[in-house]
């Protein structure tokens, strides 16, 4: 988001999902859309049915890539070079929207100098994508009026994550594919309310609505509303917190609904950091790997047992409604925090979730008109500054949130970790269709557990032949930080030299071996590039693989399920 904010002044999907079906060109970079955002992919495929051109840039041959008219298989971590190559063609062939660039953007000359050096031939050398493909894609994307650009974690989870996002923003501004329906730069957010958590200021440097903590006026507004003196220095990001805990400076942590032991890179360091804490509170719905290390665990409720709102990736704030009473003795998270803060001498005084939203609306300009009673149909898309505003389907119409859009000149820099003789493969991690994040939820759903019960590593047939493994064999994946054992899956989905492991499985937690390198600005870990070696594991004679999934057992548990909830005092 830091990348988008520096270009446009606001970090969110610029256009709406319902516009996708009418687009003419859909350019997807680093997103496995059919598996990770199936309903958005549905709109994309509808557009393809209506005659749109689908272009996918991804090293892996993902499902969406199989539908694509053009699939660019760049080497992992070379997205900047690919995008610069495309922009070089656009500038060189005079496809730039000069009017738009002159009126609404700044810093074009600096940017042009950098891009001029990256001809399609240079880009071909770095990315491995044929220059003719780069030229073709550039022409298709730039000449069509209704071109939408999508990206996801394939762009952001690199040490150059912010550079990658800025390059995407450059491309969009160069061709004026922004500020109109069926255009724009559209990051697809991975979790149901990651947009909302950012909007509500669960970030170290901003209050709700991206109002900077360093800005004295914003701080004063919150100080007078909350009747407390507020700190002005920016806080630590999650990665900083664990570093600081390891050095013994951070003493206590309060973790709500997260599982950093599974999801963060280089797990053993995270565990070491957590062990050093004096005090750890975890608030969650299930016992997670992180909760096992906690001093106090508090049971929270799921989405079905509370009222509130989620903000989806297209900025649509939608109502979540309570369907059943809190199961067992759990309490909604906001109630727990409010109780706790009362005990610490600060009474928040909320009686229901809609009162919290009223306070947030008062303090947050972009959420100004977002109140529960207005969300009853299909919600509202922010920016929505007042109670009569109908919401905003596409942003940056007349001008960018920060005034002029900024071109950032971006040079290609290679990924942090490169392959060598000992670690010859590039490991990239990701998700699966049937799984979700650290799998605390979907692992407890029989249908989903049945589909993908085991972790695997995707290997290209040529690589598999070279190291001598077949599908189903056990392989040891070794990096500079650790090793895990997984089943091999030989497939040409992954190109030669690259292997893919999903990160959902606790038996083979891939984050034991991922690289701790982070983007210097946004602090996003480089999950998509890490050098590893693969060693076949030879089984002992007579050893049989044990079958982990047991449907009978699962049904039995489901039948014995219900317990009368204890009402909390």
């Amino acid at each position: 988001m830091a990348g988008l904010a520096s270009a446009f002044g606001s970090g969110a999907m610029t256009n709406s999902i319902s516009e996708i079906a009418d687009a003419r060109v859909i350019f997807v970079v680093g997103s496995n859309t059919t598996e990770q955002h199936p309903m958005i992919a549905m709109h994309m495929l509808e557009a393809v049915d209506r005659g749109a051109t689908l272009i996918v840039a991804d090293p892996r041959k993902t499902q969406i890539a199989a539908f694509a008219h053009t699939h660019l298989r760049q080497r992992s971590g070379t997205d900047v070079a690919l995008l610069n190559g495309i922009m070089n063609v656009i500038i060189g062939e005079g496809l730039v929207d000069i009017n738009f660039v002159r009126r609404r953007t700044e810093n074009f000359d600096e940017f042009e100098k950098v891009v001029k050096r990256c001809t399609p031939e240079v880009a071909e050398k770095i990315t491995g994508v044929p220059a003719s493909d780069i030229q073709r894609v550039a022409r298709i994307y730039a000449t069509e009026k209704r071109s939408m650009l999508f990206y996801s974690m394939g762009i952001t989870q690199h040490v150059t994550g912010v550079d990658n996002v800025r390059s995407c923003a450059n491309l969009v501004m160069l061709t004026a594919h922004i500020g109109q329906p069926m255009t724009g730069l559209n990051p697809l957010r991975g979790q149901n309310n990651v947009q909302g958590a950012c909007d509500m200021g669960a970030l170290p440097d901003v209050y709700s609505g991206y109002q900077k903590v360093a800005d004295a006026r914003a701080r004063k507004k919150f100080e007078s509303a909350w009747r407390r003196k507020l700190p002005s220095a920016r806080g630590m990001t999650m990665i900083d917190m664990f570093d600081s805990a390891r050095e013994g400076r951070l003493k206590a942590m309060y973790i709500v609904g997260e599982n950093p032991v599974m999801s963060d890179p280089d797990t053993s360091h995270v565990v070491e950091a957590i062990r050093k804490l004096d005090f750890l509170v975890v608030q969650d719905i299930f016992m997670s790997e992180t909760a096992e290390l906690a001093d106090v665990i508090l049971p929270a409720v799921t989405f079905a047992e509370k009222d509130g709102t989620f903000t989806n990736t297209e900025r649509r704030v939608q109502k979540v409604r309570k369907a059943v009473r809190p199961m067992y003795g759990a309490m909604p998270d906001w109630k727990i925090i409010a109780e706790l803060s009362k005990k610490m001498g600060y009474d928040m005084g909320y009686r229901a979730a809609h009162e919290i939203m009223e306070e947030a609306a008062l303090l947050t300009p972009v959420y100004g008109g977002i109140l529960h009673h207005r969300l009853d149909d299909f919600g509202l898309q922010w920016p929505c500054p007042d109670a009569d505003h109908p919401g905003t389907p596409f942003m940056h119409r007349k001008k960018f949130a920060k005034g002029l859009g900024t071109f950032n000149p971006i040079e290609f820099t290679p990924p942090d970790e490169t392959t060598d003789m000992t670690y010859p493969f590039i490991l990239t991690t990701g998700r699966l269709y049937f799984r979700y994040h650290t799998a605390t939820m979907c692992r407890r759903t029989a249908t989903l557990e049945r589909e993908e019960p085991e972790c695997f590593v995707e290997i290209n047939p040529k690589d598999a032949g070279r190291i001598g493994v077949r599908s189903g064999n056990s392989v040891k994946a070794v990096s500079r930080r650790g090793e895990i054992v997984v089943k091999a899956l030989v497939t040409d989905r992954t190109p030669e030299g690259i292997v893919f492991i999903p990160f959902h499985f606790r038996e083979a937690a891939v984050n034991l071996i991922t690289s701790p390198a982070v983007d210097p600005v946004a602090k996003i870990p480089e999950f998509k590039v890490c050098a590893i070696n693969l060693v076949p594991v030879i089984p002992k004679p007579g050893e049989r693989p044990k079958n982990r999934y047991n449907r009978k057992e699962d049904l039995k548990i489901l039948n014995e399920l219900y317990e009368e909830p204890e009402v909390p005092s």
Binding site: Q191, G201, L230, G235, F286, A304, A323, L448, E560
Partner: protein
């Protein structure tokens, strides 16, 4: 059977769906036919999103570690302990020795309250969530 309109808890698409409730239990899911995102369809995760809600592994009561073992506790005791330990840490090492991780799985309201708790009650800007993962 009662149908409660709500939003899928999995990915960022934000599909609209109905939870079917019978006798205080969720028995099924059906998609919202006119929702602008999903137009009456759902992916495999959405169709099964009610199942984990009633899973017996759910945490049922607060747990507090005593002599190295996690033991059952009441809400009152658990919250008292947290309040005193956090206040103690704040006094001894300053508010910036406390870190808060909020969640992209929680509602907007809950994230707002978490942020208010970190900034107004604890007095630190050390608040973050898993946006980068």
């Amino acid at each position: 059977m009662e149908k409660v309109s709500t939003i899928c808890p999995y990915c960022g698409c934000g599909c609209g769906l109905y939870l079917h409730v019978e006798n205080g239990l969720i028995t099924g899911v059906s998609p919202s036919a006119h929702h602008p995102v999903n137009h009456g369809s759902l992916c495999v995760k959405g169709w099964n999103c009610h199942e984990f809600v009633q899973h017996p592994d759910r945490l049922k009561y607060p747990l507090v570690r005593k002599d190295g073992i996690l033991q059952k506790s009441s809400w009152e005791d658990a919250l008292d302990l947290i309040a005193s330990r956090l206040s103690g840490t704040k006094e001894k090492y300053g508010p910036d020795a406390i870190g808060i991780l909020s969640s992209a799985k929680c509602t907007n309201e809950e994230n707002f309250v978490m942020m208010k708790f970190a900034r107004a009650v604890i007095g630190t800007n050390n608040i973050d969530h898993c946006a980068r993962l």
